[in-house]
């Protein structure tokens, strides 16, 4: 009896796996090297210190997916796993409003209903949530994108739980990565995950001129130190990542010359924040982009407009 039922379950799952999921290669061609967008079953890691536009990039991808075809979107369902409690729905709605060019409430709600949000408060809950999502992916072939913000949210909590043994520290994230790997192979979804920079070795406050590693690039030139960019999450996660977007930011003062960029920023000579994202894909080369964040969300700066 139960073996028949088991076979039906298997068949159902097989069927869901066979049906091709919408490829997200064209989700944002400007970010990735030519023809190097994320294939089905690939993981893109968005990496960078605080305030460098990682969540804004996620909003860009989100809006691209959930907007209707008429507004330039893909009309796909997206699952957003929020580990940081950083999803600002008002910000997302203002970006969608700007792109929709209408104030039609029903249209906005239909876009938002394509988004499913799950808040996780620990890596165990993240693991259980990924198991739960397996049934969701099995039954809904239109769900092709999983966004995780951020995968490094529980890094310190796990480290403290693991005490002195590295393997215990990384155990939970290892399990999550293995499960994610299996979901990617079986269901061919695409995953984008943000992660923050490597934590600095000693954030002890120092008032003297002793050099303390400055881990926040506040108003200096955009040159992240090697330490900051080193991948520090567990090996199982590193193996999964096929594309890495490294974000950084810099302050630029627009010159008085009449370039389009400075006129966009207004008549005042105010320091503006420009973000840089460097994409490196496995075996596909790399690409650097600059963007600013406006009311419409992420706006890429093309070569002509650059200062």
């Amino acid at each position: 009896l139960c073996s028949d039922w088991f076979k039906t379950m298997q068949g159902f799952v097989l069927f869901a796996r066979l049906e091709a999921r919408r490829s997200l290669k064209d989700i944002e061609p400007r970010l990735f090297p030519d023809n190097g967008g994320p294939e089905n079953g690939e993981v893109v890691e968005i990496f960078g210190p605080e305030g460098t536009g990682k969540t804004e990039l996620l909003y860009l991808l989100l809006s691209r997916c959930i907007l209707p075809l008429s507004a330039g979107g893909l009309e796909l369902s997206v699952i957003f796993v929020d580990a940081d409690f950083s999803l600002d729905l008002f910000r997302l709605v203002s970006i969608l409003d700007n792109r929709l060019h209408t104030t039609d409430e029903a249209l906005l709600r239909s876009c938002l209903s394509r988004l499913l949000v799950l808040h996780c408060s620990s890596s165990s809950q993240l693991l259980l949530t990924l198991h739960f999502l397996e049934t969701s992916f099995a039954s809904r072939p239109d769900q092709s994108l999983l966004l995780i913000d951020s995968i490094s949210a529980f890094y310190w909590l796990d480290r403290a739980e693991g005490r002195t043994s590295y393997s215990k520290q990384e155990e939970k994230l290892n399990k999550c990565s293995e499960l994610l790997g299996r979901l990617l192979r079986d269901y061919k979804i695409t995953v984008f995950a943000t992660s923050s920079s490597a934590p600095s070795p000693s954030p002890a406050p120092s008032h003297s001129s002793a050099p303390s590693p400055s881990s926040a690039p506040s108003s200096s030139a955009p040159s992240p130190s090697l330490d900051q960019d080193k991948p520090y999450l567990c090996r199982a996660w590193q193996k999964l990542v096929s594309h890495r977007l490294t974000c950084s930011k810099s302050e630029i003062v627009p010159k008085m010359a009449t370039t389009t960029a400075s006129s966009l920023m207004g008549p005042k000579r105010r320091r503006a924040t420009q973000f840089t994202v460097h994409c490196s894909s496995r075996n596909k080369g790399s690409r650097i982009n600059h963007f600013t964040v406006t009311d419409r969300g992420v706006e890429f700066i093309t070569e002509l407009n650059q200062d």
């Binding site: 729905l89 799950l118 808040h119 259980l128 480290r159 399990k175 934590p199 600095s200 406050p205 108003s219």
Partner: protein, 328 residues
């Protein structure tokens, strides 16, 4: 890590829990990730029963999925903006403190962080008539000072007393009591704190770095983990109960000599909005109450907006000597 216990869900009997423990399955995560066929054979229980238990446990412990549209509706109905009482600060914060978010005030000693916290608490309790939870870790709060500020805003004694009743003060001096306090607030749903129908709308912690920075440095991992636990609890509190949180922080100097908020990079992800207070200006009188606030992180306003404001705004009708002696 949730340990499997008998009767956690229908079908999970004590004997089954013991059998599972012998098969090396002691937590919910292990059960959910295990191969159920093999497990069913080992524990001589039916596959179907194990599958049913797995499904129930997963539903109980996994994150609750919410559709974006429902979340948006919820936010629209529950989000409020609490004015700080000072129009210049409101300008910087895009009309005030938003519920469901954390705002951070950082500044060196004597820059007025505690004064701003008092002013905000008094304004919310008196004018907005909402409850405020004030967690004091520096020992700087006194009822007399709050009463002084209230006296300048309102002349009726009943109003002043009612406003004082709406401010609930917790004085604690180490991170474990802070965690305890936040946990119990979350568990109780902020209910016992609501007095006279005023529900709590703001949580002010002055200052959070006083209890956390002593832990960072030597016992590095534990300190960071405790800090992240405080951060997670605060965020959960703020989101679940739709309150606005205001925390204060010290400052340190970065390599270039610029002043930046303390507690490092991992903490900096937590607040949605950050203000840096500076002053008093060395050229002016050392007892001046003028300060400047710069917006260093915001998702709504362009960064580096700067306003000058007067700390004595909250007690402007009368000339009262400030509680702290300011040294130049």
């Amino acid at each position: 890590m949730v340990v499997l216990r008998a009767h956690m869900c229908p079908g999970l009997e004590l004997q089954l829990v013991r059998d599972l423990r012998e098969a090396d399955i002691s937590t919910v995560e292990e059960l959910v990730s295990a191969d159920l066929e093999a497990l069913a054979q080992k524990c001589s229980v039916s596959y179907k029963a194990l599958l049913a238990i797995r499904r129930v446990l997963l539903a109980q412990h996994t994150a609750f999925p919410v559709s974006g549209a429902d979340l948006y509706e919820d936010l629209l109905s529950s989000t409020a903006i609490l004015s700080t009482g000072h129009p210049r600060l409101d300008e910087l914060l895009d009309s005030g403190l938003y519920t469901g978010e954390l705002t951070e005030l950082s500044g060196g000693p004597g820059t007025g962080k505690t004064q701003v916290c008092f002013g905000v608490a008094v304004h919310i309790a008196l004018h907005l008539k909402q409850g405020v939870i004030f967690i004091d870790t520096t020992g700087g709060i006194t009822a007399t000072r709050l009463h002084q500020m209230l006296q300048t805003e309102s002349s009726s004694l009943e109003e002043q007393i009612a406003a004082l009743q709406r401010i609930h003060v917790f004085q604690l001096f180490d991170v474990f009591s802070l965690l305890d306090c936040l946990c119990s607030l979350r568990r109780s749903g902020l209910q016992p704190v609501a007095v006279g129908g005023a529900c709590v709308r703001a949580v002010i912690i002055d200052s959070v770095s006083a209890v956390i920075s002593p832990l960072l440095g030597t016992r590095h991992t534990e300190g960071m983990s405790l800090m992240m636990q405080v951060a997670a609890l605060l965020k959960a509190l703020v989101k679940d109960f739709s309150v606005a949180a205001l925390v204060t922080n010290h400052v340190t100097r970065s390599v270039g000599g610029a002043v930046r908020p303390a507690l490092g990079v991992s903490w900096s992800h937590l607040p949605r909005t950050r203000l840096l207070l500076e002053g008093p200006d060395r050229s002016t009188h050392s007892f001046s109450s003028l300060r400047s606030a710069t917006l260093i992180k915001s998702s709504r306003q362009p960064c580096h907006m700067r306003v000058e404001f007067d700390l004595s705004w909250w007690s402007r009708s009368k000339e009262v000597p400030s509680a702290k002696r300011k040294h130049s």
